[in-house]
């Protein structure tokens, strides 16, 4: 048996033993996930034991180096782990902005002390992080951000406001883009700081979304003292870190697209609108829409696979990640539009058990943010125009 084959066997046995049955069901909502953090609590014992088993092996972050507590797996091994988990429908044991966003930045730009200080707590779910980029006047034009960080002795004093900070009220730390200099190009004076949400002067206010939920906050900094040791990368070098992360984030979209989320629209459509005697969907207009969506969905999955194969063959994905972000999010929005049309008024219930507390209607509302968060669709089209098609700026 090759090393990879025996690894596969080992992984399979580990998962069979350690992933409880209830952790092999699809999550019904975000509430079913474990996010960790100082105030994080487990929903039940199954969730706890599954998370602890995975964290002990470092498999909450399979590819991170073992010296920080990560899994230390090779790309091939990590792929096997992912496949074996998917085969068994194992849930992701820990959802975390620390894993998706901060960790990769620290691994690339952080000092050795910072890596040792922060990475283990991410891997073990001890500290929950949130992302402080957007400001009321700096959205798509992020580099125009104004939250200031002024040097006073060994500290920065941070003042300003962030907005759309996902889960700020439940997070322990925030990685924030701040302005340390107003000189030169606006991209130059930006610094990447790690700030404790419990520090004096930090406050949050929830924002209620059209989905009725409030996973976002405005985050205020009022003379917050942040040690200089919390600067990641160089002072004034925060834009490179942020850009690296944005690209990383967009590439992850390809990785995280769940194939099962893309395909079976016709299954629910059949249930929702019924079939004619000739074996066709009862609504001929919807039949066309569903078929179009399914072809685009399949084409999108094939494209993710193709781009991965091209990467393996040495062609970097580069700005094509903007295409994945744009196309995937627009498809997801379309899918919920079709779900609502298929189900009619039944899809619009907002409260009550009959409507699963408005799950579908709220989800529909939530998907509208897909093409705004992480860079809007229009911004992705700008990137494709400039970086791939090399069209000139006006």
């Amino acid at each position: 048996m090759s090393a990879l084959e025996s690894f596969k066997k080992e992984v399979g046995e580990f998962l069979d033993q350690n992933c409880p049955e209830s952790m092999r069901q699809p999550m019904k909502s975000e509430d079913d996930a474990y996010w960790g953090g100082r105030n994080g609590s487990f929903k039940n014992d199954d969730q706890k034991s599954w998370f602890e088993a995975m964290a002990a092996k470092g498999w909450t972050t399979p590819e991170w180096p073992a010296e920080y507590g990560g899994g230390g797996l090779s790309k091939d091994e990590a792929r096997i782990l992912k496949k074996e988990m998917a085969k068994r429908n194992c849930r992701t044991p820990l959802l975390s902005f620390g894993i998706w966003m901060l960790g990769p930045a620290l691994l690339k730009f952080g000092s050795e002390e910072q890596k040792h200080q922060y990475l283990p707590d991410i891997i073990n779910g001890k500290i929950r992080w949130c992302q402080g980029y957007s400001e009321p006047n700096a959205g798509s034009d992020l580099a125009s951000l104004a939250t200031s960080a002024t040097t006073v002795g060994d500290n920065y004093i941070v003042n300003g406001q962030k907005v759309w900070t996902s889960y700020a009220d439940q997070s322990d730390m925030i990685f924030a883009l701040t302005r340390t200099s107003g000189e030169g190009k606006k991209q130059q004076g930006i610094s990447f700081l790690l700030v404790d949400m419990a520090a004096e002067g930090v406050s949050t206010r929830p924002i209620k979304l059209i989905s009725g939920k409030s996973p976002f906050c405005e985050t205020f900094f009022d003379n917050v003292k942040v040690p200089k040791a919390n600067l990641v990368g160089a002072e004034g070098g925060g834009w490179s870190v942020a850009k690296y992360l944005l690209t990383h984030e967009r590439e992850m979209i390809g990785e995280t697209t769940d194939p099962s989320a893309m395909i079976p629209l016709n299954v629910s459509a059949k249930k929702d609108i019924g079939m004619n005697a000739d074996g066709k969907l009862a609504d001929p207009v919807m039949r066309k829409e569903v078929a179009e969506w399914e072809i685009d969905g399949a084409g999108f999955l094939f494209t993710i696979a193709r781009l991965k194969d091209e990467m393996k063959a040495g062609q970097p994905i580069g700005a094509k990640s903007s295409f994945l972000k744009y196309y995937g999010t627009e498809l997801n929005k379309k899918k919920y539009e079709l779900h609502l049309t298929n189900k009619g008024l039944d899809s619009l219930g907002w409260d009550g058990e009959q409507y699963e507390e408005g799950k579908l209607a709220r989800m529909f509302c939530r998907t509208k943010g897909n093409s705004i968060e992480g860079g809007t669709s229009e911004v992705q089209l700008n990137i494709i125009s400039k970086r791939i098609l090399e069209l000139p700026s006006e």
């Binding site: 016709n266 459509a269 059949k270 079939m275 074996g279 066709k280 969907l281 039949r287 066309k288 569903v290 078929a291 179009e292 399914e294 072809i295 685009d296 399949a298 084409g299 999108f300 094939f302 494209t303 696979a305 193709r306 194969d309 091209e310 393996k312 063959a313 094509k320 295409f323 744009y326 196309y327 229009e378 992705q380 089209l381 700008n382 494709i384 125009s385 791939i388 098609l389 090399e390 069209l391 000139p392 700026s393 006006e394």
Partner: protein
Amino acid sequence: MGLVITEEQQLLKDSAKDYLKENASIALMRKLRDENDENRFSPAVWNAMAEMGWAGLIIPEAYGGMGFEYVGMGQVLEETGRSLTSSPLLSSALISATLLNLAGDQSQKEKYLAAIASGKIISLASEEGSHHNPKKVQLTAKKKGDGFILSGSKNYVLDGQVADHFIVSARTAGHSDSPKGISLFIVSADSAGISKTSATLMDSRVCAHLSFDNVAVSTDHLLGELDKGYKPLQKTLDIAAIGVSAELLGIIQESFDRTISYLKERRQFDKIIGSFQALQHRAADMYCEIEICKSLVIKALQGIDEDSFMLPALASMAKSKCCKIAQLVTNEGVQMFGGIGMTDDEDIGLYLKRARVAMELYGNYNYHLDRFATLNGY
């Protein structure tokens, strides 16, 4: 197999591109058109293609071909889409060769596949109406003595005006819309009772309408089993749809590339028009759709080589998406060229015209969308 082409296939694609650019470019197409050439393709170019092995690309080596994969054939077809090259590559080397290989017996394969590989032209005569409908077969083949008598007509036979043989779908049993009772015959083009009229279409290519007036064929011209021709025919038509999709992909990419070049060159309001965001976003959107087309086409081509059970769905996905995006990209191309895009001197309109014909061949957008839904049980 990854969703990328192999080094060998890339070489084939590159050499096709080089050859077509040198020898079968749009200039040739314009010349044949303007001289009102009756066949609208160059026999010299076709002979050269046959000598390079393209006519026998997918024909097994045992029958005089190259035994290459369909993915390789797809690369060549894509390049002929880019160069707008007219030739019997689609009609004879892809479609008829596929059908003969699927349905022919040993001696038929030996005879006809070798003929195709050497550049002889065999055309499939299956359509009878203005819309693709392979089940609707009214041309009849009646048993007489130890042969058959064929009566009826076939429309839009690609390269039918120059073909040496036709493969004809004929009704031997069942009602006129039934997949059951269809038989295939291979018939010499100079058989007594066949008359042809040529039809020039919008893409300036020529095809033929055939009329069969009591054409006698002997039993050894029956291809495959009596009454059971629909199965190999349908599989061939799936492969034909995928082949046309590959050509459409070439058309799509070339017209897009030309449009982007024009956006970088044309100035209005003291600016390069490609700097206008209204045009940039439409261009970027087309870029994304083209990425989807590329994946559906390579997946479908690989599906042929792997003999995938999904082949019918893969074919319908590829053809419907390529139709839709060919329509989008060629229309946007003409629009973004402005007035000059409407002139015959500018090439972009030629892509629009070829695309419109290719979109109708072997099932248009509606046909394949409907079929995809049916295949998926709705």
